[in-house]
Amino acid sequence: MNIASSGLRLLSCTAALALSLSAAAQAKDPNAEFEKFRAEMEESNPAELFEIKGEELWKARRGPKNVSLAESCDLGQGMGKVEAAYVKMPRYFADADAVMDAERRIVWCMVEKQGFKFDDIAKKPFQGGNDNNAPEITNLVTYVASGSRNMKFDIPLGDPKVRDAFETGKATAAYRAGPYDFSCNTCHGVDGKRIRMQNLPNLATPEGAIKGVQGWPGYRMTGGVMLTSQWRMNDCFRQQRFPEPKYASQAVTNLLTYMSGNSNGQIYKGPGIKR
């Protein structure tokens, strides 16, 4: 392991794990040690740099239709309103006749309101370890998420369409397939388990579900990149040995509805910092 590999974000999870922790770290619980510095890291989080760019993008007139998202995109809280939007998505949007998570909704606005092409956005939706800049959509999601800092998750599960997405997401989390017979729940379905040293939240519980969505979008120290919940879901499926979920698809929204819905009533701390 040399300094160069710190930039290799997509180092296979488990391959990297194999190089893990030496016996020297045995004495203390490393996870407790990490937590000690967590608050300090969050205090000055490079995610804020992406937030600033996202705000500029939100307010700028852009795209073939030369309109801003601030004047054309309704995240469910009124036209252009970002405050409290993130903790209330996924929600149902009548104009799209779909339940959408924040990222999917912003993409929808970019396509429908600003005239961008979906395929152009979906071509490279996540920042790679060698990329100096995050995609615009990541900056936008980070800005929108910052508008819900320290607010409680409040996914409208009373809406039958949202409820359907929630229940379908729950079934998706339990779906076992692929060469290793894995489902999301293989790792995230019970309390108190871990992979190597990494604690695994149980997504079926409020305490576990909030851990799954807390800190996303997040600044990932590995590679120094900004990544969203959409990426987190994408990379889980990679490790699950599944094919790739299509970007901003219903399957991903369903899972996020399940996880965010189970987090209802718990406080979202805003864009985070991740290992």
């Binding site: 392991m1 040399n2 488990t14 770290a25 490393p30 000690k36 590679g223 290992r275």
Partner: protein, 156 residues
Amino acid sequence: MNTTRRTVLKGATASGVLAGLIAAGALRPTLVLAADWNKAAFEAKDTAGALKGIGATAASESKDLMLKVPDIAENGAVVPVDVVSNIPNTSSISILVEKNPQPLCAQFDFANGAVADVSARLKMGQTSLVKAVAKADGKFYTAQKEVKVTVGGCGG
């Protein structure tokens, strides 16, 4: 300006003059130049070379120099470090990671009310000693602590 900048920082009176010049618009504070970067010290491949580069070959350990680093870093790409010097008249603090290919990470010179207290985030390629060096009244002081670097994990 470049040649005088670091010199003027040494004395408060001279800094006052500089501040006056800045206020008068004669010098813009944005005009920092990379040319006075201490190439020899920063490009040194080992700790001895880096210490020599900053003139700190004869440094003594001091309890008044506090180095706060994690025992175990969650990620070697971002290791938080905090250095506080309670040594009177501390004018600069340097931070080194012994086993990095280029150990010297940063040097900060203080003036005009700055407290000798700095935090930064460092890359660490492997488990290593982290060293802080403070300069006060022309003398050098050090403190060091080991940080274990763990790798891997799909989490987060």
